[in-house]
């Protein structure tokens, strides 16, 4: 199984390397940003069993920070992304300290409340530009020599960011730390009785998830050269839940597939106008009714059954 997983990853990476020859690079960059966002979210819900309904605050907050430092302070993109990620991690620490004391619906509500506070903060403060957002963020060279005004070059930068983020998540899940997280998900009192400081594990997972969501948001802001209220609005938190469920919660590739499906629908079904939301809703219902484990979850299930 281990070997097979490596093969799949290698094939996917090869596919992503040649994809811009066929598919429009800006669209691919968007898919990658949302895929990373959904994977970060999945780290929390899929492996710790915590449903955060406020991940937009990390995604959008980091988008604002990276757009701002790149535009107004003239930072280069790599530092913009790092700054966004750092702020999202700090925000995650604060939000995590408050939220992880509760479980289930209360946890979701606490994160939603905190995210709404961040939303109103972004709406009111000067630096975010209110409802206009931060526009016209320049695309500077990464590390001083990779020109990002060319979409194709920037695509490979974004792909690198995605691979780094994805590797971090993959490592986390397969580390002893990840095993403890899964133990907490399955049976928290037992993990406590075994002597684990459950809250610390949960907090660390929360911060990690927040930071990676921030990394995705910060990158997206640079791709589209703008950060806006859409990124911090509660609908964004909902969208990432949708992506994760459609793709397959608790599978490493599921959220990325889900993100690709949802983003593709938003873009390529735009011609169907008002029917986009209806189609999105119908697909969600079909997934929940027919493939409870999501697209990737079902595929894994089918594979295991075949080889059983």
């Amino acid at each position: 199984m281990k070997l097979r997983e490596t093969h799949i990853f290698a094939a996917l990476l090869a596919l992503l390397l040649v994809a811009p020859a066929i598919v429009y690079p800006v669209f691919l960059m968007k898919v990658l940003c949302f895929a990373l966002f959904a994977c970060a979210f999945n780290l929390l819900i899929g492996y710790v069993g915590l449903l955060s309904f406020g991940h937009a605050m990390f995604f959008g907050g980091a988008a604002y920070i990276s757009a701002y430092v790149v535009k107004s302070w003239g930072w280069s993109p790599e530092f913009g992304i790092l700054a966004g990620t750092a702020v999202a991690a700090a925000l995650g620490l604060v939000a995590g300290l408050i939220a992880i004391r509760r479980q289930g619906i209360y946890f979701a509500m606490v994160t939603l409340a905190l995210a709404q506070m961040v939303f109103f903060f972004c709406l009111q403060t000067k630096f975010t530009g209110g409802e206009d957002g931060i526009q016209a963020v320049p695309r500077r060279a990464v590390f001083g020599f990779i020109e990002t005004t060319n979409d194709l070059h920037f695509y490979y930068v974004v792909l690198a960011v995605f691979v780094i983020g994805f590797t971090i998540i993959h490592r986390t899940i397969h580390s002893p730390f990840g095993q403890v997280l899964k133990a907490i998900r399955e049976n928290e009192p037992r993990a406590v009785s075994l002597g684990y400081r459950v809250d610390r594990y949960k907090l660390l997972a929360f911060v990690l998830s927040a930071a990676l969501a921030g990394m995705a948001g910060a990158t997206k802001a640079l791709v589209f050269q703008l950060a806006s209220l859409t990124d911090v609005a509660w609908q964004m938190s909902g969208e990432v839940v949708l992506m994760t469920l459609v793709g397959g919660m608790g599978t490493i590739l599921g959220p990325a597939v889900g993100a690709a499906v949802i983003v593709t629908m938003q873009n390529y079904l735009a011609g169907f106008a008002e029917y986009v939301l209806v189609i999105q809703g119908a697909i969600f219902v079909v997934v929940v009714m027919a493939f409870r484990r999501g697209i990737v979850g079902e595929l894994i299930g089918w594979w295991q059954k075949r080889n059983a």
């Binding site: 009111q124 409802e131 206009d132 806006s228 029917y275």
Partner: protein, 402 residues
Amino acid sequence: MQIKTLFATTAIVLAAGAAQAQVSDGVIKLGVLNDQSGLYADVSGPGGTWAARKAVADSGIEKRGFKVEVVFGDHQNKPDIGSNIARQWYDVDKVDAIVDVPTSSVALAINQITKEKNKVFIGSGPATSDLTGPACSPNTAHWTYDTWALANGTGKAIVQTGGKSWYFVTADYAFGHALERDTGNVVKANGGTVVGAVRHPFPGTDFSSFLLQAQASKAQIVAFANAGGDTINSIKQAAEFGIVEGGQKLAGMLMFITDVHSLGLKTAQGLNFTTAWYWDANDNNRAFAKEFAAANGGKMPTMVHAGIYSGVIHYLKAVEALKSDADGVKVVDKMKEMPSDDKLFGKGTLRKDGRHVHDMYLVEVKKPGESKYAWDYLTVKKTIPAAEAFRPMAEGNCPLVK
């Protein structure tokens, strides 16, 4: 939208006798980018696509050997989706100009991308006056209205017709604050007074406490410095508190005729606002509106639809005169050089900062008894001449005019 248009390809291509080789890729391609399904779908939406196609047909440019194609997209009021569509249109689909784009944040993003790619952006839907201010671009024409024109038109005209004391109900974010400040300045400059203001959270649902304060202020005019759903809700609730019956008048800063339609005359009566175009103002408008309604499920066109029509007509004239659509700056320069003239907006000019100037109108919503037929909603109280209707170029801080 009808199934027929839904499943048809997004393009209508009328075969032209001799395709001109001068225009890029042999076809002038227009992309109508707006909200097809959400909050602003009635303000422009699918009707905007219709208006652009109508303009292409009326211009007769295809009879003269040019090929024109109109495509549309739904930006869902999200800047990232809009910007993704715009980039793809320009890079892959060879679109030459983007038209409409309501929602200021999306419009500002399109403004930026259009400049970067040297194409043309004809904005009919966006409200923000920044498009011809600090964010102005040599590739952009801002056609129909902007926040300055609305605030100024409504503020000035109401004070001049006797509404001296004002109270603002303002959405508590940058847009609302700017609208309140701009309108307040106009009111004071014309001899009126602002007796107070209250800020409501954005987006709001319950406006009762704010409306009660407005009522208690005894100001002659209660002005709503908010937009979209907030305006609709605050006007509905104002009707419930009997503010208009109590002798105060309501003023909306950003209103469309479709808002009046959804509010109903009983609720909206007595409301004053500024518009760039009204379907029932003259015979040309009525004829356009009749055709529009027949194609769009009985709805009447808004000023945004009319602006799309007028803007596309003028764009096609400029392209025809240049015999080329390749260089966005050149096309817009040509549009600025030639005076605009079409059956809906009459004569107008495109200023150096990209602002299209034309007359604006102060209107009042009729009482239910005064309305004689469907969509007979507004009385034009005052024509604001083009020279006064828009922000003077020097005050906009547009880098192009320095």
